[in-house]
Symmetry: C3
Subunit: 478 residues, 3 copies
């Protein structure tokens, strides 16, 4: 390998290699590259924005909070505690951030061909102006460079937010949150730029350890004494009103399956009462969760919150990792998902209602052409969200268009939605999606299946028009 | 967008963009472009041909009868009744054809990237010589142009049939049909050009509302009093003989699953008798349907009718749409299908019998490489049909070849089979399939995996040789 | 078709057609083309190497032993007995090898687009220097040419082994084998070049006809009287020690599903005892097989044998073929496989143990991006094996990289592993995999997602570094 070349990004990166398509894709991408970022489904902590935090060092910024990086390093034999994740039993943990960063740099080759590699290159070069690619040899140099850079005021989070051209950022918030950080942001004039999202998952799964405590939090937060299913629904409505008042546009639901079969009222009440006495079995809990998706859809008719559904992930697949270190550390593994029959009850009830909108995500690609595109290409309320999680990658984004467009077209999709935990990766992710969409549209143009003017209009719509409309509450006329 | 450009089709449309591949693909396509059309699995109403009908107007020709268009417009918020589909409750419906056409033209962008767009361009430009692309601005102009064109004698259906170069057209007919239109056609010398297909679905599903009435129709049509399972089988045999005499080549089966498990004779009789007393439950009805697929295969040994199977669609997914407007209006949604175990009983019984042929279709692409290609690449009786329904599209056609050829080759497929309701789209569909196959073959040639002479021979075989052979009744020596 | 052209292979075959990518791919492939072959999972009979056999004739070499060819010819209507497979009932069988070869040559077109065609071209031209492509017209000529060639000493199997540059070849051996051929090879100084693999499938499936006899063989081979589950485990350990002493690196497991749920010790013992009295039902047998996968993983912790798992095939799909001719004749058909939940018990127990390594194979591609890449991209013990069986083909290999790399990277895969029965196809298979990987890496380079130096390093790693490391027993420091 050549020695420490000055690091740059090629302007044609991630565009198709074939010259005819590349030339068209470049032209299309040129029309969307500088458009604002609409980022409606992220996991950035509103508190960092409320406090306008600085990022401390390279390990804290890139490695420790990013389960994409953690899992890859773990897969290469580096255990979590060597990456700064403390074992719950108080066992040893690496505190030296420089050492953590070295570990990452030594394993840079493991990321070849992954979106993590692509995003990190973008971040390191474009956002932080790092001079060399990570390696065992450059680790210390990069660590020092970044330490200096991150201390500068123009690298605090609000400055980056402006520099990135983010129009609006949706956070993900517990249904019982007081949204204090959002209040701070509103006071600072950032209320339209950072909006909360209502996520009630823990409340909908009465087999989880946290359910009982969450119900108590719900009582406290809503001012409704939650003692039965009716009280539960009332408290949820109250909390949704609170979120709407704070600017929320959407709810978000991470369920094991997309089942939406409603229960008779008495059965829902019976399960709720049983759960108050102790965790339900998996089967009963899933039936209850399905019922609550159905109830949530009904509430959306009233308050206009857009419903997002992300099913099909086995959380904490490794009980060993979960027990030793905790959750969200890279050991959530997808499983097959069935949408056609699962969504039928909900769509039959509200799928044609103009007050309702449902945005669907999957990590099971087999559903794209078989189930999701046919559903979105028929029901007026259904939109396909962007490729999620493992699929938010050059190939994953391309396959999404290839497998959905012929049935659903472009205009039954939400446009690009990122799912970021790492704030600094937001522009990299949006730019990549714009490049892949440009490449796909360029194929249609090069094969004479679409005019260039149509392709450019479509690219712009996918970038800003469609995501703005998808997350406009239907009651607001979106 | 430029103002009303004269509309033309590029001769290289849907061929690969990369110049090396395109040049080869162009040469291959040049050798198949003018070959006759073998269209053995359509849904064109034989009556329109018997009466040599004229198409009335643009809405009647393109929008109202085509569930591909309807569902896309519904997905964009235009309800069925605004598109000329009358609600069953007598509610308001748009009768003004021009208004319906306008609705469609306004939503032209929703079809970008879809096969509907591709086919319509072909039809509008090549078949009907329309001067401009649809848009809100051109809707009236196009409507008037088409009104005039459709009134001309060379645009009646028989004239188009000749112009399209259709060698033979298979219609889809109820198993109880008297085939009166086919008799008319035969009298007019069109008996070899339009042949019926035997479709007994309603008779095989004793949970459906129409089963009981269909059994009575079967008694009347066959002259066999159908009072038990033995009588039912006898009546079916009689009807199949009638269809064979009328030129039929094949049966067609649209089942929920491809299960072919036979029942003991007493159990089949028990279910039949129970069904006479009232609709069966879903589980019993599906067991009965599976049994009848097995029985149908046995009948094919006797009469040589080729068996087509199209499983895996949830019909009338939206009870709301079905209840309000009826069936076949764009709300049938695919689900996952398992073939390997489901087909085992049938294939074990007759899969090696030279008198039997089974053509398999799917809307679940995951079965292509995993199940369908291995089955077709082993059993002499099994052929893979062409990409069906949602998958009959540029990408869907390409993926079919990519995912089946390496295991099944080309010579265990049926060649192209369209599934058209819209008569005027037949040449567009066949031309598209020829282009995509040319592009796939060109890839093999460009990668030195196939000689150009072999590729051309294969393309011709896929276009005419294989479909002719696939639908020749084995008893006829095909 | 032109008449008998001199047959050659294009040096750019199976590289991408697009010139930019091809130039890069050619450069990458140039760096791996001459590297040694690491072939750790084949089905070559060690006896042929121990005896340094000569191949007799074209039918014996290419047709009769290769279930890929047999099934394709059967699918085209040539029954097994016409291809030299004797019916068990003593019915007629074709003994004339020349006639069998003619049958194959007449159906050469059926293999267009298949890997069989690609491999055979490579073998016929590169290995055996045949002058013309097979056809009805050339069959006799080729048969005679090959008869002469195969009689020459440089075409005996050990000479070919040297010429192919095989570094090490893993065979697949019954768990009860005395490994006599391997002992011969060791005495001849070939002990490091041909190593056995421990395959206990028949012992783990107590519903099969052969289980009881295999248990008796196990008692005899191990010197442990196997009368209960404890004795069974002890005998397996003994046999594994024997294989390790003979150079084995790995075990191999072909199960119906990848279920790894362990049973309570008493339940395992109860099932074993019941099996001694007669074959178990499918459900109990599968539960027992799952338990034995779990036990095998525990044994790997002790002896360091790498565990290979190949699930998801319905063996002997056609009872007619199995009953008439036997097994392994092309009628094994894949079915859908679920890995995420099935592997959880095993991975939870040993997935983070540095003494353990699990290499996963699939013929269900839907698991690549959804389940397999996420598992390999998280658990340190899990590696993805190469595309297996039907998927070991140009498109199958390309899709494997496309569907796994973005989540698992390259360095959680095993590098190329062939699954050969036909010894002479080994170099063709490895060369094809190197070409397809070069093409995939060239795409990353051409899209500026990877440096050329990184791509070359990765290609070399996939070819030799990774397979060597994957099959090094962890206890050996691999």
């Amino acid at each position: 390998m050549s020695e420490h070349p000055r690091w740059t990004l090629d302007p044609d990166r991630a565009l198709p290699a074939e010259p005819t398509r590349r030339a068209i894709a470049r032209e299309i991408h040129g029309r969307t590259a500088d458009l604002p970022i609409v980022s409606m489904h992220g996991h950035v902590d509103a508190g960092t924005l409320a406090r306008d935090e600085a990022f401390g060092d390279a390990a804290e910024l890139f490695v420790i909070p990013d389960h994409y990086l953690l899992r890859m390093l773990v897969s290469q034999g580096v255990p979590h505690h060597e990456l700064g994740i403390p074992p719950r039993d108080g066992g040893p943990v690496q505190h030296d951030r420089r050492e953590i960063w070295r570990r990452f740099c030594e394993h840079w080759r493991a990321f070849r061909g992954t979106p993590t590699r692509y995003w990190l290159e973008h971040e390191l070069v474009e956002v932080f102006g790092v001079s060399r690619a990570p390696s065992a040899a450059t680790a210390d140099l990069l660590y020092d460079e970044l330490l200096e850079t991150l201390a500068r005021p123009e690298f605090r989070i609000r400055a980056l937010f402006e520099r990135f051209g983010i129009e609006v950022l949706g956070t993900t918030d517990s249904a019982t949150s007081a949204l204090a950080d959002h209040a701070t942001l509103r006071r600072d004039g950032w209320g339209d730029r950072v909006v909360p999202t209502f996520r009630p998952d823990v409340l909908f799964h009465p087999d989880g350890a946290g359910w009982r405590a969450a119900i108590d939090e719900l009582s406290a937060a809503s001012g409704v004494e939650v003692g039965d299913q009716a009280g539960f629904l009332e408290a949820l409505r109250e909390r949704r009103r609170y979120f709407v008042a704070a600017g929320a546009r959407a709810t978000d639901h991470g369920h094991r399956t997309p089942d939406t079969t409603p229960l008779p009222a008495e059965e829902a009440q019976r399960l709720f009462a049983a759960a108050l006495r102790g965790p339900l079995g998996v089967r009963e809990a899933e039936a209850y969760a399905a019922h609550m998706l159905f109830e949530s859809a009904r509430m959306s008719l009233e308050d206009g919150l857009v419903m997002q559904l992300h099913p099909g992930v086995v959380r904490d697949h490794s009980a060993q990792v979960a027990g030793r270190y905790g959750s969200d550390l890279g050991f959530d593994i997808p499983r097959g998902v069935e949408f056609t029959r699962a969504l039928r009850p909900l769509l039959d009830a509200v799928g044609h209602d103009p007050r309702f909108r449902l945005i669907l995500f999957t990590v099971d690609e087999t559903a794209y052409s078989r189930e999701l595109a046919p559903l979105a290409g028929a029901y007026p309320s259904v939109l396909l969200g962007a490729p999620w999680w493992f699929l938010d990658a050059p190939g994953g984004l391309a396959r999404f268009r290839e497998l959905t467009t012929e049935t659903a077209g472009f205009y039954n999709t939400s446009g690009f939605v990122d799912d970021t935990r790492a704030f600094a990766s937001i522009p990299a992710r949006h730019d990549l999606a714009r490049r892949i969409d440009a490449g796909y549209l360029a194929k249609l143009v090069a094969e004479h299946r679409l005019g260039l003017d149509e392709a450019i209009e479509t690219a712009i719509d996918l970038t800003v028009t469609l995501p703005r409309a998808a997350y406009a509450r239907p009651g607001d006329g979106g």
